[in-house]
């Protein structure tokens, strides 16, 4: 596809359940970002990959959150033992450059609701 693709678009998880969110970045983009957006707030940085290397995971809120990008393309954000406070939109973004904010393209997000 032409844009960043995320799946599932919507996920309802029971508290304590593990979830996995997938991101297909734009083909050839070396940089990949995950952001979390709570209701009524701006996106907050979670983690950054350059190719398969996770260079920054300072935004991951707890050790229940884990992200990987093993082959430098598709990425998965995994949340273990989900809690209600994990309910948010998880946005994936990709870029062909490392630092140029105006060339970061966002996906439509995965909406997670923990009940």
């Amino acid at each position: 596809g032409a844009g960043v693709s995320q799946s599932p678009r919507y996920k309802v998880a029971k508290r304590g359940q593990d979830v996995a969110l997938r991101c297909d970045p734009i083909s050839g983009h070396v940089s990949l970002f995950w952001y979390q957006q709570a209701l009524g707030q701006g996106p907050e940085f979670l983690t950054y990959f350059q190719n398969e290397a996770q260079l920054d995971k300072s935004g991951l809120p707890s050790d229940r959150f884990f992200a990987e990008r093993p082959e430098g393309s598709v990425s998965t954000l995994k949340i273990q033992r989900t809690q209600q406070e994990d309910s948010a939109v998880y946005l994936c973004a990709s870029s062909s450059t490392r630092t140029d904010g105006n060339t970061i393209y966002f996906g439509e997000g995965s909406w997670l609701t923990v009940v």
Binding site: Q41, G42, P43, E44, F45
Partner: protein, 112 residues
């Protein structure tokens, strides 16, 4: 510690008039300042940006102003159109960094 703040959660403006959105930041070390636009159920899309060495950047109906001494950023939309109705986020980042820091957003409603 909110590094980027958008103090107006919403703004309503008549079609054809000017929309002014404001953003304040705390860290003088940021190098790039951006505005993103977001429609419901879509991801944010880049709108316009400015580097720290400039104080104004214009792109069609959109102009961004940067006041470094006040650590203040604003976006002017002239004239406003109904299709501009969306949530607008300001964002900042450092040249050597790899992440955007976003404000909380301002919801703009342009009335026909």
């Amino acid at each position: 510690d909110q590094q980027v703040k958008q103090n107006s959660p919403s703004l309503s403006v008549q079609e054809g008039r000017i929309s002014i959105l404001n953003c304040d930041y705390t860290n003088s070390m940021f190098d790039y300042f951006l505005w993103y636009k977001k429609y419901p159920a879509e991801g944010p899309t880049f709108l316009i940006s400015i580097s720290s060495i400039k104080d104004k950047n214009e792109d069609g109906r959109f102009t961004v102003f940067l006041n470094k001494s006040a650590k203040h950023l604003s976006l002017h939309i002239v004239p406003s159109q109904p299709g501009d109705s969306a949530v607008y986020f300001c964002a900042v980042h450092k040249a050597a960094g790899n992440k955007l820091t976003f404000g909380g957003g301002t919801r703009v409603l342009v009335k026909p």
